[in-house]
């Protein structure tokens, strides 16, 4: 087992853990954390994808992509937290309510 494979495997495991939590957990903050962990898993895979064999320098392009990806994920986290705080202030609720069918008016 080489290092890049190990990194990529761990990335996919992180992605799966995050995915599980995103689907199963109901608390909004946990969901937001889960999405961040999913993102970290993907970034780890990208870093592993830049490996170019023993002794050669790593490909810098995926690392640049990860930097961009971190910026995107930061924006998403900020918007998600803002929305979650607003929902909490309005409803005293920390989960996504299910019964919005009746409140469109």
């Amino acid at each position: 087992m080489t290092a890049p494979i190990l990194y990529a495997g761990c990335g996919i495991i992180l992605f799966s853990i995050g995915l599980h939590a995103l689907l199963v957990r109901r608390h909004l903050l946990r969901k937001i954390l889960a999405a961040n962990i999913m993102g970290s898993g993907v970034f780890m895979l990208f870093i592993a994808a830049g490996a170019r064999g023993e002794g050669t320098a790593a490909d810098p392009v995926p690392q640049v992509m990860v930097l961009t990806g971190i910026v995107v994920s930061l924006c998403f986290t900020a918007v998600a937290i803002a929305l979650a705080v607003r929902i909490h202030n309005l409803t005293d609720c920390t989960t996504l309510a299910v019964d919005e069918e009746s409140s469109i008016d």
Partner: protein
Amino acid sequence: MTEILLGQHWFFWMTLVPLGAAVVAFLIPQQARWIGLATALLLPFFALAAIAATLTAEVQPITGGGWPTPLGIELRRDGLALVMLTVTAVVGFIISCYALGYFPARGHHSSRARYFWPLWLFLWGSCNALFVSGDLFNLYVTLELVTLASVSLIALEGGKAALTAALRYLFIGLFGSLAYLLGVGIFYGAYATVDLALLGDIITGTSLDHAAMALMVAGLVLKSALFPLHFWLPQAHAMAPAPVSAVLSALVIKCSYVILLRLWFEVFVSLDTVAVGHLLGLLGSVAIIWGSLLALRQERLKLLIAYSTVAQIGYLFLVFPLARNETMATAWVGGVLLMMTHACGKAAMFMVAGTIHHTAGSDRISRLAGAGGPIGVLVVVFTLAATTIIGLPPSGGFFSKWLFINAALVTGQWWYLPIILSGTLLAAGYVAKVLGWAFLDVKRSSYPVIPWVMKWPPLVLSVIALLFGLIAYEPVQIALLGAPVSGPIFMEAGP
């Protein structure tokens, strides 16, 4: 003079101008309306100039920062990008006019107007950037920009229901794009490139490639709300203010679909896609029937239109099983045509629903009883727009379904025929349900006066959607410029 005009990098400006205008509109909120309207006026002309430049002049390739292609970012200037930019410009202009009336400058909702314009211009610029992107990672970034702007627009209403719908849409969007990004990472690890054309040439079809394809398709299907992953769409689309619903249904859904279309015909060509195509076709078929049935059952106009979008997305996904060897071009053109007409028709329908909600005080369909008299104009606009959703000639919807049926017959996949036909029948059913209520013989005269910008712009779009079949030849020729498909376009095929 003409040479100078044609030599401009119009594709580049179509992305940059709305993004710049969004920043300006955010900084000067008092003038946001006029900045938005000025941008909306400019962009259709930019789109025309881009078409003229592509058709007549030899344009230099545009690369970001002047870096050579593998490293630099090259803009795609093919037919698909051109038609999508043009449709977005036309629909966007009409929606902007409508929004002037929907978000009045004064009154207790003026803060919504203040945030609507920057976000809408930001979304517009991101959509344009997505259409001209030619590599996997840029597509990811632009798709995220589109999602971020859409989430904020859904939350514009500010109530509990709108915020919940926005946050749910955000989680769905994140999940979809991270799955897509994981696929991008796998492709980069294997081939060290993210350029669509380059990747399509060197892809070999290992099992890892198929895993990446599965991840990307799943992510994009979730974002385009194909059955059974459509659960988030009706709430998100019905909860938003009317101009936002129109944007989401007409344009945002098409963004992830355009990416899938590009990937399918450029990158996945040497992969084994027959089974995946059949799966997408099956899901599309279920979406057509299920979406139409649920639309028939809705009691609220906006939810009815949202479920109708679910059904129309089903049609879009029929492209994948139907595009085989000789029918490649037929199915592809059908899909592109449907995207264009659905954008016009659905935007007009959502705008009409918004105006009706505004005047009748509720968007319950039963409240429409007798509306055919006092707000008859709106009902007529709704009907005209609905012809393309049903697929009556001469609308563009009719021609795209015709092309799908021909492709199904040529490839011997007859089972798509009853699906397409029953979808049409059900669509006629839910439109007739709305019209039935509207023309009930009930006397009502209590409707307030509607500002003209909320009445006439949707009419323009619905007329475009209705007559699109008659003028479809030119757009189709433009769309086929540099298209990844070739072959005859079957207009009348025997089994």
